[in-house]
């Protein structure tokens, strides 16, 4: 049982959650809403960048965040022998 350290598992889990939620907030609330006006002066191919973030980019990043969380947690649980 010496590899099974629930405390460090939980700490790593919560810091992973915190980091991913920071990205989540920066992308959606930050770039797509609060900073959309300055970002719209940058052209992203055919559309203003802030507008593209709000209607496409943020959603794609949300999907990526959940997949990253699932993969990272699998790795973490294997390391802590919670699963084989």
């Amino acid at each position: 049982m010496n590899n099974n350290r629930p405390d460090s598992y939980w700490r790593k889990n919560t810091s992973l959650i915190r980091n991913l939620l920071i990205v989540w907030a920066v992308v959606s609330l930050g770039l797509s809403i609060l900073l959309v006006q300055p970002l719209n002066t940058i052209q992203f191919f055919g559309v203003p960048f802030g507008f593209w973030m709000a209607q496409q980019g943020s959603i794609l990043i949300f999907v990526a965040l959940i997949f990253i969380y699932a993969w990272q947690m699998d790795k973490l649980e294997r390391k802590h022998n919670i699963r084989r």
């Binding site: 991913l20 989540w24 609330l29 992203f44 559309v47």
Partner: protein, 568 residues
């Protein structure tokens, strides 16, 4: 072959499929009935969650709304997807580890209080009922528009189909029909969107056509010529603060909606809950990144087809005739020049009348796309089947939540804890039937305030469930007193503000935040009250703290896998 023929064929085939799946997945035990036996594969649960989540509103109305408000429509796009990040990271794995059947189950057990359970039950039923009425109405609208069935008969047909597979199969039947419904609705959404993208941008993938063509700048130019704000211009209809608050309320509300949360009770373990949340959002994102592209294309198309065109010529178009007949598209050549003019609502002529001569209902943006793009009749029929799939899948998920709230949380957990398996399933089936009749009634006689009460569903879910569930997992110190005080204060504040603003003419006194966005503040109030009251009252009992500890350690549940795992 006519549109009617294809519509009857496609709708008929899809209905037979749902009935067949319902018959194949019939269940006898309560675990099968309420949580599909907890063995649903992660990817299947992802598809089922996506269908459960995407309602008639997502399928039919969302692209239309965005098409009218441009950037400001992002509140729905981000709000209804961003919540899944919260769900996957903060709720789903732990609620699956908890292993019971409903959201009130968690609230009642974690806060060792029947009163907390009851508050959660009432909130769950209220949220789900307001939501399901809209779905039954959606079924009626699609059937009446495409098959000229009258609305009442349309709703009754929908009730029979949903009733069959949810009464027989419970959550198991619902799960596998939802998987089928996802496939139908996504194909139905993508085909017209891809064709119209190809026609307008030369790129068949709408997401790419959206970004890598000059359609956005063309549309912005047309908009400004007509006196509208540019399509991509932010905050043309809502202030920045309001956009922020509404987006957060929709995100948090999404993560707190009981019919979405219970889907994660049906998978094998916490790990599958995480993976299936990822699949769910991927499946949802396919539609949610197509929608804004479709909105932009449709806006461009509609303006080009209607603005500055002779009235007589426009009225010859087949799709115009069809939607004009049921008043979803109205013309009024006010200045009598025989030419149609599109203009913002607030633009007035010297006589003080509005200049605008075309009145477009938001719902026809998606429904008319295949016709505007001149696609064959079978595509139009497919869109009808897709709209029905979206409405029926969401309705069935909601009905099960209402049924399990009464049959499981109230009857089994509060009134008769000694009820036998057969009795619990029987009560569950009866309650599905009962909820269906209530939902059908509201579908046929929609209360005038249906559109307004949707703000309630998200606002109340955000202000009641989300904070107490998250704190229940991440903060061991949160106790019964805190949770009850927090839920009540969040609920009462949010409900008062929404009712005040929507029905009693109260000004939006909190920095102009609209009723749709106030759930964000309600959630913060809930969080603060829960935390403070918990600190001022005794900590939860030892066994509750151990239960939380246990929630946080996701071990493999099944004995066969355990025996394969060497213990170190």
């Amino acid at each position: 072959m006519s549109v009617e023929f294809w519509t009857i064929l496609f709708v008929g085939i899809s209905f037979c499929l749902y009935l067949y799946i319902g018959w194949r997945s019939r269940v006898k035990d309560s675990k099968g009935f309420f949580v599909a036996g907890q063995g649903v594969p992660a990817i299947a649960n992802g598809a089922a969650t996506a269908a459960d989540w995407m309602s008639a509103a997502s399928f039919i109305s969302m692209a239309g709304i965005i098409s009218f408000i441009g950037y400001d429509g992002s509140i729905y796009l981000m709000g209804w997807t961003g919540g899944y990040v919260l769900l996957a990271l903060l709720l789903a794995p732990y609620l699956r580890k908890f292993g019971k059947y409903t959201v009130p189950d968690f609230v009642g057990d974690r806060y060792y209080s029947q009163f907390a359970r009851l508050v959660a039950v009432i909130a769950a039923i209220f949220v789900s009922l307001t939501y399901v009425a809209g779905q039954m109405q959606g079924v009626g609208i699609v059937l009446s528009r495409f098959l000229q069935v009258d609305l009442t008969r349309g709703v009754v047909i929908g009730m029979i189909i949903v009733g069959f597979f949810s009464v027989l199969g419970g959550m198991k039947g619902i799960t596998w029909t939802q998987v089928t419904q996802y496939c139908i609705l996504i194909v139905a959404y993508l085909i017209p969107a891809c064709v119209i993208s190809l026609q307008l941008t030369g790129n068949p993938i709408p997401q790419l056509g959206f970004a890598f063509s000059d359609i956005a700048s063309n549309l912005n130019n047309v908009h400004q010529e007509l006196g509208f704000a540019a399509y991509t211009e932010p905050f043309a209809n809502k202030s920045m603060l309001d956009v922020l608050f509404i987006t957060i309320a929709l995100m948090v509300g999404t993560a707190g909606l009981p019919h979405v949360i219970v889907r994660f009770y049906t998978v094998k373990d916490a790990r599958s809950a995480r993976t299936s949340a990822a699949w769910a959002l991927l499946f949802i994102a396919i539609l949610y990144t197509t929608a804004p592209a479709l909105s932009m294309f449709a806006r461009y198309n509609i303006i080009n087809t209607l603005n500055n065109q002779p009235v007589a010529q426009v009225q010859q178009l087949d799709w115009v005739k069809k939607w004009n007949k049921i008043d979803l598209l109205k013309f009024n050549d006010k200045n009598g020049d025989g030419i149609l003019q599109l203009a913002p609502e607030n633009q007035l002529n010297p006589q003080g009348q509005t200049v605008n001569e075309v009145d477009i209902h938001k719902d026809i943006i998606v429904l008319s796309t295949p016709e505007v793009a001149k696609l064959p009749p079978w595509v139009i029929a497919l869109v009808a089947a897709g709209g029905l799939a979206a409405a029926l899948s969401t309705a069935s998920g909601l009905l099960l939540v209402i049924s399990s709230s009464i049959a499981h949380d109230v009857y089994y957990r509060m009134i008769n804890p000694n009820a036998s398996e057969q009795k619990r399933v029987l009560v569950g089936r009866i309650m599905v039937g009962f909820a269906l009749i209530v939902a059908g009634y509201f579908g046929i006689n929609p209360p005038g305030f249906v559109a307004q009460v949707v703000a309630f569903a998200f606002g109340l879910a955000a202000a009641s469930f989300f904070p107490v569930i998250v704190l229940g997992i991440f903060d061991k110190r949160t106790n019964k007193e805190g949770a009850i005080a927090g839920m009540l204060s969040g609920l009462i504040f949010t409900a008062t503000y929404i009712i005040g603003v929507k029905f009693a003419g109260m000004p939006t006194w909190f920095f102009g935040i609209s009723a749709e966005g106030i759930g964000t503040l309600g959630m913060l109030i809930n969080l603060i009250v829960t935390t403070i009251v918990s600190r001022l009252t005794p900590p939860p009992p030892q066994e509750i703290q151990e239960m939380v500890e246990n929630l946080r350690t996701p071990t493999i549940e099944t004995t066969t896998e355990e025996s394969l795992t060497p213990m170190h």
